[in-house]
């Protein structure tokens, strides 16, 4: 009962991607988890194979394909047991800022590298004192002749170590209204005054390089601005919709994989001489899990259609992000219950899911922020 219009070309892309990931990514996952980072060469390899930013237009080095290719990539990446080569963040969350708001010069300069994997991107919004409350950021951007001078610190930045460019949100201290004070800028790696802080140790997502970034009298050309000065907050809000949709796509795909593993385990395992799957409690548990996943899947696919058609689906996106992120945590929790003591050991790959997925109710907007926006949409 799939409702998305996948063509043969989409299926062929998925198959090609799957083979690539099975050969070039999944076998490295354990090493990357140990290293707490992915080598930059992995980005170049996946870029060279044609799987980065498939939506970028031909004028900028991309094949100009539709959003379903991003959906496919996000789903297939969930099978790779690693979170460092995070194509969803680069391709579908950060690079769209450059494409939508960058000047022609900026687009020519960066987009081809984003497609080839030579330019790894990050977006820096969160600060030590500004998490859910994005507007209270304190990083400043002050004009000085042809340059912008940036000062401040950002935290929890994914791709923080590997990034070649970072899109930073900073405010003009002269503007009082905090919603119109924020602008977005591109800062290149190696710009004097831009340094990395700690490579942060997290509960999970160990192959993902999450870091603090510091800006101290960091000077960038004025032309590195994205969009108009003062439009930063509006641009963030506009792009957060796709960010949250991507998050929901990842959550539903992860849930489907967890369900698949749980069903397989229940079929192949015996308790006191009987297959586990014959126990009524196990059957019902799996039936409940399957129902949750399917309901989320249908809602999500419908939402993807709306998103692709350019419909106004903000509240629905928040609903999907909220529901799927809570669901996937419940899924992995229940799956570990099926495994019993085996659910405590690192060699059970669901243990990695348990650690990795705990963040999804927090990042890209917490469940509380999602509910706030949903309530607003109802005029509350």
């Amino acid at each position: 009962m799939g409702i998305l219009n996948y063509t043969d070309a989409h299926h062929e892309f998925r198959e090609r991607l799957r083979l690539f990931l099975e050969k070039e990514v999944t076998p490295n996952a354990d090493q990357w988890e140990k290293d707490h980072i992915v080598p930059k060469s992995a980005w170049k390899k996946i870029g060279a194979a044609g799987f980065l930013c498939p939506w970028v237009g031909k004028a900028y080095g991309g094949p100009g394909l539709d959003f379903l290719y991003s959906v496919i990539t996000t789903e297939e990446m969930m099978k790779t047991r690693q979170t460092g080569l995070v194509t969803m963040l680069h391709c579908d969350i950060v690079v769209p800022y450059i494409d939508s708001f960058g000047s022609e010069e900026i687009k020519q300069k960066y987009l081809p590298g984003c497609v080839s994997g030579d330019v790894i991107t990050a977006v820096a919004m969160t600060e030590p004192g500004a998490g859910s409350d994005v507007a209270s950021m304190e990083t400043t951007a002050v004009e000085d002749g042809d340059e912008i001078v940036i000062n401040g610190s950002k935290t929890f930045i994914s791709n923080g170590i590997n990034c070649d460019i970072v899109i930073i949100a900073a405010k003009d201290p002269a503007v009082e209204n905090k919603h119109t004070a924020v602008s977005l800028y591109i800062v290149d790696d190696g710009t004097p005054g831009f340094t990395r802080g700690r490579h942060l140790e997290k509960m999970g997502m160990h192959s993902q390089d999450t870091a603090e970034l510091f800006f101290s009298d960091c000077r960038i050309p004025k032309t590195n601005i994205l969009g108009k000065k003062g439009d930063g907050f509006m641009m963030l809000m506009q792009k957060l919709q796709q960010e949250r949709l991507m998050s929901a796509i990842g959550n539903v795909a992860a849930s489907e994989l967890i369900l698949e593993k749980s069903v397989a385990f229940a079929k192949e395992t015996e308790i006191n001489g009987k297959p586990m799957s014959k126990l009524q409690s196990i059957k019902f548990t799996l039936a409940e899990m399957a129902t949750d996943v399917k309901m989320n899947r249908i809602f999500l696919d419908n939402l993807i259609m709306g998103h692709m058609a350019g419909e106004h689906v903000i509240a629905e996106t928040m609903m999907s992000k909220y529901a799927s992120s809570e669901m996937v945590n419940l899924m992995v929790d229940r799956a570990l219950d099926l495994f019993g003591e085996h659910g405590t050991l690192e060699d059970n790959l669901l243990v990695r899911d348990f650690r990795d997925l705990r963040i999804v109710t927090i990042f890209a907007g917490t469940t509380e922020i999602m509910k706030t926006i949903i309530a607003q949409s109802m005029g509350l």
């Binding site: 859910s132 999970g204 308790i271 219950d337 019993g340 003591e341 405590t344 705990r358 927090i362």
Partner: protein, 385 residues
């Protein structure tokens, strides 16, 4: 029983003071990376009499009950979930010696456990899920004045730790098909017996300060007196042991949940977003109300189960209810604590993430939820026909 006695409150305070002075999240963090037992803290805890408080005084114990043991467990795990769990697990399954062992075995080993000289290991499970006790394949065969044991055990607590001095091993002593429950027996096997080898399972989801191993017993000989309880009575002993061990597991979970709540409370009173403390948002307040309620309910049923045990009325229904309720409370309170911390909750710097990982391990040990529900249902429903 709604108020602890004065001596019980004193024990609680002593445990709190000890934990405050000795436990440290940096130490826990380093030990988790190294997967090392908190040896120094363990020996100090033993010196101060926190280990084996439920053993008789003649065995270097405190001569007290399960409730006192629960109070120490809860307090330790609240102060630091991983260090606390490790200290509780130092005497893993030693209750099998205490409750079923002969006088000589008790006098030989309980003092060494209480004094922090050795750790004990628990070697019961063989299957992947860890509950299939009727299908035990490890055998013990009587040859003259010794028992000869062969088999492999999974998820052996303290397995392979250099300080582990003995293991409690569940074996099949007869293959009577008509009564699988009757063919099992429990043994004490010293760790240095020839033929006993361990293989670490490596890193775990949580509870990483204690070793877990696969234990292989190849023609391991133990003397006749190492049999715990009567021959063929192992399953009954095990069921009795679980009534006590599940109360302790519940106490770990209560401590874990209370510890997550403590940390979340401290954080939300300090952190501001949208111009207000997180604690000033009604939704945060209601989260805290739910969390505090869950901790209190878990504590009540756990204390009640311990109190009944100490009154000479061990109640498997209450023990399973305690394990079920407290395990869930630790998970739910832990998840909400991380949520209240936001992104910081996901960082190892704030230890709520470690509490949450430890909570899942506690929930999966000592019988998963379905096992507890099977027991509770059997007791509550009784005979159907």
């Amino acid at each position: 029983m709604f108020e602890l006695s004065k001596p019980q409150k004193e024990i609680q305070k002593a445990a709190r003071d000890f934990a405050k002075g000795e436990f440290d999240k940096e130490i826990a963090y380093e030990l988790e990376i190294k997967q090392a037992f908190p040896k120094k803290i363990w020996q100090k805890a033993a010196d101060l009499g926190f280990l084996g408080i439920h053993y008789p005084e003649s065995c270097s114990g405190g001569g007290m009950g399960v409730l006192e043991n629960v109070l120490i467990t809860e307090t330790f795990c609240r102060s630091d979930s991983s260090i606390g769990s490790a200290l509780v697990q130092a005497t893993s399954a030693s209750e099998c010696i205490l409750r079923f062992g002969g006088e000589e075995l008790k006098n030989r080993y309980l003092p060494r456990l209480a004094e922090g000289e050795i750790l004990s290991g628990r070697a019961l499970t063989e299957t992947q899920r860890g509950e299939d006790y009727l299908n035990i394949q490890t055998t013990a065969e009587k040859r003259g004045s010794t028992w000869v044991i062969n088999g492999t055990k999974r998820y052996v607590e303290n397995g392979g730790d250099p300080d582990t001095g003995l293991y409690i091993v569940l074996c099949r002593t007869s293959s009577d098909e008509s009564s699988p429950e009757g063919g099992l027996s429990l043994f004490l096997v010293e760790a240095d017996r020839p033929g006993l080898t361990t293989e670490s399972v490596g890193k775990k989801l949580g509870n990483n300060l204690t070793a877990t191993a696969r234990l292989t017993l190849n023609e391991v000989e133990v003397p006749i007196e190492n049999l715990l309880g009567d021959e063929g009575n192992g399953y009954a002993c095990l069921e009795q042991y679980f009534v006590e061990s599940r109360i302790l597991a519940a106490a770990k979970a209560v401590g874990n949940a209370a510890g997550s709540l403590d940390r979340a409370l401290e954080y939300i009173k300090g952190r501001e977003q949208f111009g207000k403390k997180i604690a000033e948002f009604q939704v945060s307040q209601h989260k805290i109300a739910d969390m505090a309620t869950k901790v209190e309910l878990a504590r009540l049923v756990t204390h009640k189960a311990a109190w009944y045990f100490d009154q000479g009325k061990p109640d498997s229904t209450l023990s399973s209810m305690a394990k079920l309720t407290a395990g869930r409370a630790a998970m739910e309170v832990g998840a909400q604590a991380i949520q209240l911390f936001g992104g910081y909750g996901y960082m190892t710097e704030y230890d709520v993430e470690r509490y949450y990982r430890d909570a899942k391990v506690i929930e999966l040990q000592e019988g998963i939820k379905d096992v507890q529900k099977d027991i509770i249902a059997r007791n509550v429903i009784g005979k159907i026909r």
